[in-house]
Amino acid sequence: MRIYLFGYGSDDFLARVVVTPDERTVAQLAAQLVAWGLAPERGGTLTVHNELGDVLDSNSTIAAAGLGNGDVFTVERG
């Protein structure tokens, strides 16, 4: 199912809307957000948190990680 989420990249300056199928993985979601930010070429691992600050399993699907329409997630590098 296609859902919309609000993503914050830790080296970006505002939240961006990400529309994505929720069968994709959390890692793919993070990569999609970072690609839209101002430093897409920067390397390093990406860690994804939900609004409560819990770290989400990057191999999990977005749906299985508990993210649904209108949720906020944060991607941190390093």
Partner: protein, 493 residues
């Protein structure tokens, strides 16, 4: 023998009467006059600090208008742009679009108080206030019209509030809440006590000082002239506040103050903060936006709170933290989404960056790398490489992009209500929404509308939906790129 002013003024101000055909509650229904509903006895001591007669009002306003129009005549239309910095012209365009018709809406608020205010002295002051606000609409419209011959986008002075442009939607949302959809009491606290006593000083007096240094004397005269009116009718708020506090409504009064302080801060960081520090020529900058905020707004606000023994808003620490960062983050948003604006946006040059870093010691380390990145993007792939193409997330209360306070410091939060998930840029926005959810819940942000298909998702179609004729009207890089030779004439239609 002619009576002296002081012999008759009190009689003329206080012309309340006892209605015989309707009762007081029918004449002043709580839904429009406001809560708490009190009998007129509670309002009988309503007094403004500086009293004005209609005769004095007309004489003063005539003089003020003559001063503004005198400068306009002296400058002569062909020279309206002479000597003006390009960034400053954009600042005026931004200001005119965001402010001119908001003033007209302010006239509606004043007229509501002129009918439903609970004491005749209040109603008299509001009648003059309504005339003020009409004047504050007409002057920018006149000057904006003069500027049309040189820059077609000055038609946004009139057009902006009739569009779905996202900055204007945010402004409308605030002004609807502050006064158009507010009763007389709430308007007096939110508009007169908070907005006009504090924030308009910034937009009109501080900006007037900058206009003087930017050699835009017509704009300077206009702003200063408007603020003298604002200062007079702003005093409506104080006696209303006094009556509320004397009649057991301290909690309500504190809420209205807290709410409107935060909401005004949100709009002013977006409008005034960015304009002062990214569109004002360096030699016209007398102080930073933060310094102006502290001196002109916060200091006055603190005096007002102390006068009424009110508390500082609970989110004060967050506000203080945001003073150093939020408008700088917002500027990056304006720049990268500039095609959705009716004015041009600047990338700061080296001298401006030095100034910003002197005023905000974290500026270069926080924002420098992001602007460097945009400059590199331009070199590598041209202007289109410096634009954001994804949608920014918008706050469901302030309707502005949910920017970080600074990169890495995220204050966004959500609220689930009746099967809908709402996004907020910050805890204060969520708190305000929660306090009056029935008032705000049905509103859909631009992004909400795009997501459900009520507004187009394709940028070119979205321009049309927002009233922007691309590419003539859409905002561009102020300097048309990294190289000065790229500078095009100011677009005109």
């Amino acid at each position: 023998m002619v009576l002296r002013r002081d012999d008759w003024l009190d009689l003329a101000r206080k012309v309340d009467w006892t209605p015989r055909y309707v009762d007081e509650q029918e004449m002043f229904p709580a839904a429009v006059s406001g809560h708490p509903w009190l009998t007129h006895d509670a309002w009988i001591d309503w007094n403004e600090a500086y009293r004005t007669t209609y005769r004095e009002y007309v004489a003063n306003q005539r003089e003020k208008d003559a001063a503004v129009l005198g400068v306009r005549s002296a400058l002569d239309k062909p020279h309206l742009f002479d000597g003006l910095d390009l960034g400053w012209v954009q600042l005026v365009k931004f200001h005119n679009g965001a402010v001119a018709l908001a003033e007209y809406a302010g006239a509606v608020a004043e007229l509501r108080m002129a009918r439903f205010g609970r004491d005749s002295a209040w109603r008299m002051m509001s009648t003059l206030g309504a005339l003020d606000e009409i004047r504050h609409t007409q002057i920018p419209l006149l000057i904006g019209h003069d500027m049309l011959a040189y820059d077609g986008n000055f038609d946004w002075t009139h057009k902006a509030f009739h569009t779905n442009e996202w900055v204007i939607l945010a402004a409308r949302h605030l002004f609807d809440d502050m006064f158009l959809a507010a009763d007389a009491i709430d308007s007096a606290i939110q508009l007169n006590f908070v907005f006009e006593t504090g924030f308009t000083n910034l937009q009109f007096m501080a900006m007037a000082a900058m206009a003087d240094r930017a050699h835009h004397h017509l704009f300077e005269k206009t702003l200063a002239s408007i603020q003298t009116d604002e200062a007079r009718h702003a005093q409506i708020g104080h006696p209303v506040m006094r009556t509320l506090l004397a009649n057991g409504s301290r909690e309500r009064a504190q809420y209205l103050v807290d709410k409107m302080w935060w909401r005004c801060w949100r709009l002013f960081l977006a409008l005034t903060g960015t304009a002062m520090e990214y569109l004002t020529p360096l030699d016209a900058r007398t102080r930073s936006f933060k310094e102006f905020m502290n001196e002109w707004v916060t200091e006055q606000f603190m005096k007002n709170l102390a006068e009424f023994d009110l508390e500082k808003p609970w989110f004060w620490d967050l506000f203080v933290e945001e003073l150093d960062y939020a408008h700088h983050s917002f500027q990056l948003g304006l720049y990268t989404y500039r095609t959705t604006l009716w004015f041009d946006v600047a990338m700061p040059d080296d001298a401006e960056r030095e100034w910003l870093n002197a005023k905000y010691p974290d500026w270069e380390s926080t924002y420098g790398p992001l602007w460097d990145r945009l400059a590199r993007n331009w070199k590598a792939g041209g202007e289109s490489n410096t634009l954001s193409y994804g949608l920014p997330a918008l706050c469901n209360l302030c309707q502005l992009p949910a920017v970080f306070i600074r990169p890495g410091r995220n204050t966004a939060c959500t609220l689930e209500m009746d099967g809908r998930r709402y996004l907020f840029c910050s805890e204060p926005c969520r708190w305000i929404f929660g306090q009056e959810s029935s008032r705000f819940a049905d509103h859909e942000s631009v992004v909400d509308r795009i997501v459900v298909g009520k507004a187009p998702g394709k940028l070119t179609d979205l321009h049309v939906w927002m009233g922007l004729e691309a590419p003539v009207e859409t905002g561009k890089d102020l300097r048309r790129g990294l190289d000065p030779w790229r500078l095009n004439p100011i677009p005109s239609v």
